[in-house]
Symmetry: C2
Subunit: 360 residues, 2 copies
Amino acid sequence: MSQPVITSARFFVGRTGDGLISFGSGQPDLPPPRAVFDILPHYSAFKYGLTQGQENLREALSKQYPHASPEQFVITNGASEALDLSLRVLARFHGAKRCLIPRPYYYSYPFNVEFAPMGVEYYDLKDGKIDLDHFLEQMKKADVVLINSPSNPTGAVQDIPVLKEIERLTQEKNLWVISDEVYKDLIYDRDNYLIQGERVITINSFSKTYAMCGYRVGYLYGRQSDFIDMVVEMKNHTSMNTNILGQEMAYTATCVPMDEINKQVAVWRERRDTIYDGMKALGLDLWKPEGAFYVFPKMKDSTRVVNELYYKHNMITYDGAWFGAPDRVRFSYALEVSKILEGLERLEGYLKKNPGVVSG
Amino acid sequence: MSQPVITSARFFVGRTGDGLISFGSGQPDLPPPRAVFDILPHYSAFKYGLTQGQENLREALSKQYPHASPEQFVITNGASEALDLSLRVLARFHGAKRCLIPRPYYYSYPFNVEFAPMGVEYYDLKDGKIDLDHFLEQMKKADVVLINSPSNPTGAVQDIPVLKEIERLTQEKNLWVISDEVYKDLIYDRDNYLIQGERVITINSFSKTYAMCGYRVGYLYGRQSDFIDMVVEMKNHTSMNTNILGQEMAYTATCVPMDEINKQVAVWRERRDTIYDGMKALGLDLWKPEGAFYVFPKMKDSTRVVNELYYKHNMITYDGAWFGAPDRVRFSYALEVSKILEGLERLEGYLKKNPGVVSG
């Protein structure tokens, strides 16, 4: 039987099997806070909710952002819908024609921009970081700028002075900024900086901080009331309210003390150190992730590597080509340290037979 | 204090108050089957589900359609997302430029078509029914045809020979048909006919049959595997899986014997007869609904009527203008018979003072 070539992450959907180690999907393995399940036995609502999102949830979220108010939030079907709606509204009602996104990028970004529809422009990251001169040059081509810090797939957190400079210049030039901050609570070494401004749209979700991926609760936050109105109007036609029970579970999650959530960061840090140190010891070229849960080592001929690691070593990894970086492979480390160590051993075996994979 | 003029259904969101009678929102007041809540206490999943939809749910749905298979279904955030995705995929990947929709229409249709983006064409219904000659003339302008039977806002069910003729001609001419059948289980007097074919996309939801509006579980069913693939690919970027718990509740609903669901039709029929007979007695010009839960009487100057009924008689009704019928008013009869009777009394009082509203 011939083995199909793996050309997208969808290939791995539903793949399980004896001894398979998955560094693939970007979702927490640690469960949501117990409290979110405690509300289930007594839940009985069934009617439509508000298209903009339930009031208790928006009220709770508004307290997490300085000077924010509940009417500045829209609850969405995950960060994905928040991004889709934002881009569609900017394209349709604000005349936006081109959107600037980072490269490497989260693999949906180019599709989201094209579906809006808008044209895609890129700013290339240097070892995961924004090169401000290059960014400002590229910025001239766009009406909308997308920032993703901490980043999937790079694990990089952008430097605060750079983000502040981007914040200043984009607002000065009346550009829209979409700031995808779904990993904002998963930072290891320092604070992140959250971009603010009149034309800033902040996107977040309950998938990473609270491990509620399957429930698809995300949101966008923006200060311009006409933008928010148009998002609600569009969502009213394209999906209506986000699942009311998912929203109530998300509200319950916001009531859990942040200390409890932050305890998990220690778990993630141990995993990060394990995989980063292990890969460095194997001679791989990578930077140390400051946030999220991905490492992104250089590997020559990444498509071949991903195929061989799966078919010969029973490991799932994601081809950097899917993220605009064909010389890298993404490893999600959302799994136990023992499995990370086992995966590193298999990787060592593979690299010994294929030393050319490690870039010089 | 001046009273704002009511210009859209959004005005009524969250309006409650002493003695308010709402003939507004189109959602069942009878709750979902008890079984869908019984699964909640033991539910603990949290990871991403399949973007296409959970296998048990698609398997169950495939048994409801002749010769269907689970891979021909995509589970969506309500029928709204099913329609949005269908139109976007047809516009983007199948080159569809113009979509033909009924008039009067469900108020989202023109927006959905324009957001796809496609141009909107209309076929005018005669007393709620399709006029085949006119339909065939209009059909020449479109690549995609939308059918909605039973219909919101008209309550009409299209005649079977007409639907069969449309089925035959659209497939012969390689047009795509989107058949919105969300009210298919709410028919009073006879069977509906479900349009079938290679280029037919059937849209349905758990909102009406199972009263699960707030949970936003809908689906589309289509035979062309490349169309389904593109829908899944697009949804993968725009919202990912539909809420996993909503899907499990929907699956549980499919396990409830249809007899139990159909018992509710008797409740709806009594309500329909009450409001239809009551309105006829008031001299209103309307047809008897064969499905769904709306009556759509003729009323001159509908915008004024809707405003006066709300501000002077504490009743919510929807302006026909929002549905492309400015000489009619929509009354949803998803409420108890006693309230319907109370509403009819208020309406009688209003019409006595405003006899010109009833068209001659």
